[in-house]
């Protein structure tokens, strides 16, 4: 969500501290995923103070069979920076989806999206990431 490990760690700790305080006062919400929702809003708040990427028309390419070999060449930090520079709610959708801990209904609930919106955000995100991969990295045949 942030593309910055130090900030992410700070937010994680702040979120847990706040949760512990609420637990001590018996004020923990009953709704599922409230902790993740809380962390998400903290991340969005934190990134508001960062330098914002200018809104650009980003290229989109069809996903190619060689994409996995292109992705293998990336550093995790590059992916984190790419996702964190995406506008919200696309950033939240991509983060939650690729975390691979939630099913789509849970993502819809957490990100407050409709199925059609989540579908579009993921599809466009994939195509934009593929275009970025094509620009940054040469294609290798997928074995």
């Amino acid at each position: 969500m942030l593309g910055d490990a130090r900030k992410a760690q700070e937010i994680f700790q702040t979120t847990l501290r706040e949760a512990a305080l609420r637990a001590a006062h018996g004020e923990l919400p009953k709704e599922p995923f409230w902790l993740f929702r809380d962390a998400r809003w903290r991340c969005l708040e934190a990134s508001e103070t960062d330098l914002q990427a200018e809104p650009l028309e980003i290229d989109e390419h069809d996903i190619v069979p060689e994409a996995p070999s292109q992705i293998e060449q990336l550093e995790p930090a590059q992916l984190a920076i790419w996702i964190s520079s995406a506008p919200d709610p696309q950033r939240t959708a991509l983060t939650l989806f690729y975390l691979d801990e939630f099913d789509y209904r849970e993502i819809l609930d957490l990100a407050e999206l409709k199925l059609s919106e989540l579908s579009r955000l993921l599809a466009v995100g994939r195509r934009q990431f593929q275009a970025w991969l094509d620009a940054m990295l040469p294609k290798k045949p997928n074995v």
């Binding site: 992705i71 992916l79 690729y98 691979d100 099913d103 789509y104 579908s119």
Partner: protein
Amino acid sequence: MKTPHLSRRIRALANCAPITEEQMRDRSMRSAVFRARTSDEFANQQSFDQAVAGLVRSIPIPPDIAEWFSAKDLVSPSKWTWKKTVRNPAVLAIGIALVVIAGVLVFQFVARLNDFPGSATARKLLTIAASTRSVLLDPVSADAGTLSDLFFMKHGLEHYDVPAEFADFRTIGCRVFEDDQSQRVAQIWVAEKRIQFFLFPAERDVKTGAVLRFPGWRYVHQEGWVAAVTEHNGVCFMAALPGREKDLAPYISKTKQ
């Protein structure tokens, strides 16, 4: 490239297809993935997602954060709530079946509450009343109360008396016939509102042969017909007409129970 025709919803679901089978908890998602997996486009999407998820998993997590998740899943599986259980088609089908069975049992119980000795015969006679035409009866124009003598003199039927409430009704015709249990039944057709009277032997105890008596008037209903039945001297009298209980009620004396 193979691209099967998929509906908008299935395409939307396929775009959100989970990266691993663990997240495939939803039936509609399983169905969408099954439909979409024949396309090359979907296969590319899946390998793309798996590669990105692999990269995400390789992100190093600081040890003080990792220890929070060392023993437990990041997210506990969603609970099986009552709401979810009720929405399950199998549970829904069983629930509807149980409601129908309960409804039938309640209906039968309520029907039993209104039963009385001779109610089964009364219902059969209501069916006969509905199918009888006046031309089938011997024409008789008299007060209904006077037919007791006719039944006794001509057919040897004792105590086949029309109660006082209906004794003054003018008759169109009458007949005596045997029902399916060889019981002799007297049928009278009167001029007013297509009302028919039936006189038949009251039900008896199979062991002792004693008449099973019941007090006052009892109603029975059958296929749009209603009848009021009373028992006197071992003979049941039944007044029947097409309609509802309120159509017959004014004729019944206030001694009805």
